[in-house]
Symmetry: C2
Subunit: 397 residues, 2 copies
């Protein structure tokens, strides 16, 4: 007997009919996945900001991080919070929507409208769940290329992203070098380290240990492994912040009291903060999607597709690269960015490298870090001049 809930879960509704632009690809346009499967039909949910110019030369693709989405610069339809990169994207901002046509799509395997495990499998009428083939970073990028084709854009002015988004940037530059004028991989790595895999595995095990995960088929039963997913998010969240930032922000401060309770309540502010991060995450993210996107990162090793040589991935590239790291980022440390830069140098590619001095850790790429924002503005302005993209009207130029 199968459980047949009368109503779809929130995550399945968003997955199928998102608050976004959507392009649907029919059976004649499958996504050829690294798992060896043709995914068909499938859909991509995306947002755009600004206007594509007549020359179609001003398009920027933004690639989101692990649990990000396409809602870069608009109020998020589920959380009601601002977009995740409003500090960087908008009129007059470094990624200037008065000048550029900005595209952001939800990744394959996500849960905000692009086909993912919470989407309805047309063959069964139920959620794909873990029957969806595993997704790779290259699959995500292949799907994005189909979206860019659909939008009639030949060459992207820029592909930009941090963390898992930066992996997509690197994959774009390797897979479609002629379609990427500039590439900005931020706070990322060309392959997942053993420690990176380890933290992701803890998160996955936490989700799968929750009995409400139900072998992955929780949406059929109208439930969700929220406790396991919240713990996964708590563990991951620690890796997004530097030890210094935690100490400065929380230290050993108690939560609204003068003395510890001698109980397992959240005595310390840091405990309260983590619990909040865990609990709020489960309201906006699908647990199976979390398994898929973490796995995609773990499988990422760009050099592997090029005989073990990362330089070979970029051989002959005309793309202008700007590699950015943050010195307090211990998840994707500067050494990982340096490895990318060394490969780009070996490939004789054009590359700028900036290590930003900040104590805010990995999440610095999402925050108002003035040196980072100025770096992005300067790099893009120089590249726009080289590409001949006019300044917005009324701003000289």
């Amino acid at each position: 007997m199968t459980i047949a809930p009368t109503q779809k879960a929130l995550s399945q509704l968003e997955a199928d009919a998102p608050h976004s632009l959507v392009v649907r690809f029919g059976a004649e346009q499958p996504l050829k996945m690294d798992a060896g499967v043709d995914l068909k039909p499938f859909q991509i949910a995306y947002q755009t900001y600004g206007t594509l110019n007549a020359a179609k030369s001003n398009a920027i693709l933004l690639c989101h991080a692990l649990t990000g989405d396409q809602h870069v610069a608009n109020v998020h339809p589920i959380t009601g919070k601002p977009g995740w990169w409003e500090v960087m994207v908008g009129p007059g901002k470094p990624i200037d929507t008065d000048r550029y046509f900005v595209i952001a799509s939800n990744v394959v395997g996500g849960c905000m409208g692009t086909t993912g495990p919470a989407s309805t499998n047309p063959a069964t009428g139920r959620a794909w769940s873990i029957d969806l083939p595993l997704v790779t970073i290259r699959d995500m990028v292949r799907a994005q290329a189909m979206l860019i084709d659909h939008l009639g854009i030949e060459t992207l002015f820029a592909v930009i992203g941090g963390s898992m988004g930066g992996m997509q940037v690197l994959q774009w530059a390797a897979s479609y070098p002629e379609r990427v004028f500039t590439a900005m991989p931020i706070a990322t790595a060309a392959k997942h380290s053993s420690q990176n895999i380890a933290f992701h595995e803890v998160g996955r095990q936490s989700v799968m240990a929750d009995p409400e995960w139900r072998g992955g088929r929780y949406l059929d039963a109208g439930v969700s492994p929220t406790k396991g997913l919240a713990v996964a998010r708590m563990a991951a969240h620690i890796t997004y912040l530097s030890e210094e930032a935690l100490q400065r922000k929380f230290g050993r401060k108690l939560q609204g009291r003068d003395a510890p309770t001698f109980s397992f309540d959240a005595d310390f502010q840091i405990e309260n903060y983590l619990r909040y991060q865990g609990n709020s995450f489960v309201d906006r993210f699908d647990a199976n999607s979390y398994l898929y996107v973490t796995r995609a990162c773990d499988y990422f090793d760009l050099a592997e597709d090029y005989g073990g040589s990362l330089a070979a991935a970029f051989k002959g590239s005309k793309t202008r690269f700007c590699v950015v790291s943050f010195d307090s980022d211990w998840l994707y440390p500067t050494s990982a960015s340096r490895a990318i830069v060394h490969a780009l140098n070996a490939a004789a590619a054009s590359v700028s490298f900036v290590e930003i001095d900040t104590d805010r850790g990995h999440d610095a790429f999402l925050l108002n870090v003035p040196e980072f924002i100025a770096t992005t503005r300067g790099f893009l302005e120089a590249a726009a001049r080289a590409r001949g993209i006019p300044m917005p009207s009324g701003k000289g130029g």
Copy 2:
């Protein structure tokens, strides 16, 4: 209706009747706990190695780490594995059982025979569970002092321990300076940082998220939150190893296959290793004990009891200190040891400080790291000469 299993769970049996020496303190000798409660009766399980000399001048107390126990240098009664510090403790080893009388006791709140949450609460006949008052590092040390009294020892030649054991060493030196001839805090900190608390909180939430935790009363039902505890252990285990050690040992190596499975199986060796660590841990450790010992560390802030001045904790101390850190330890980094050294210097205490160069991370204190072993041997030999402890017979002197 209460569930009444016919047989006690393994952890409760070991907690009540351990494979160890045991000293029981009756109602007339309560443990005065920081929680404001007199714990009575209670018991301490311990092991000894070597012989106490006539002058009672050669006793060394070893303090174990978070999930360690008293089985330092004998086969572990549950796992069948060697003791956790056989590399350091034994005949002819740096902590030479031919020369010293070595004592190791299980901490209060533990699960190997000293009173902890798995022990039977005499008032109810059931496991204490989370009705046991919260335990602090100072409580652990108070109990150890009662054991040392019971053994008729006035002054310990040395108190030695790593990680949470190092916290106990610091507490011993502060609480009972006249009873500690030498103190060796290893890979530890005088207070838990925000990041330290954060990782422990993830572990606790993982245990408590497991429905088999049953509000803490799982032993009554003859079950155990093994899945949540395993995930907690996996997360903690990452913090015990350095990024470099993980990369060297596992890197991105696949587990017994040539290509990834495109599934959520353990593709990578690091995943398999972590799952093994998690699964084997639950066979030897009680989940509630894990909550208690992590909480004890989080509450630890030695300076707090001395008006916020760590130096004040050691004022007038005649103890000889040897502080040891490992340069790749990111859980209790060298900076935390330096803070201890600075305080000891400010208190005009006798202190040696050694930072060991190794890529093995926090767990280096448990491993065969030659420089560390030589350091321990040298420091103890010099101190033994100062204390007038003779060399073992047949070894000159």
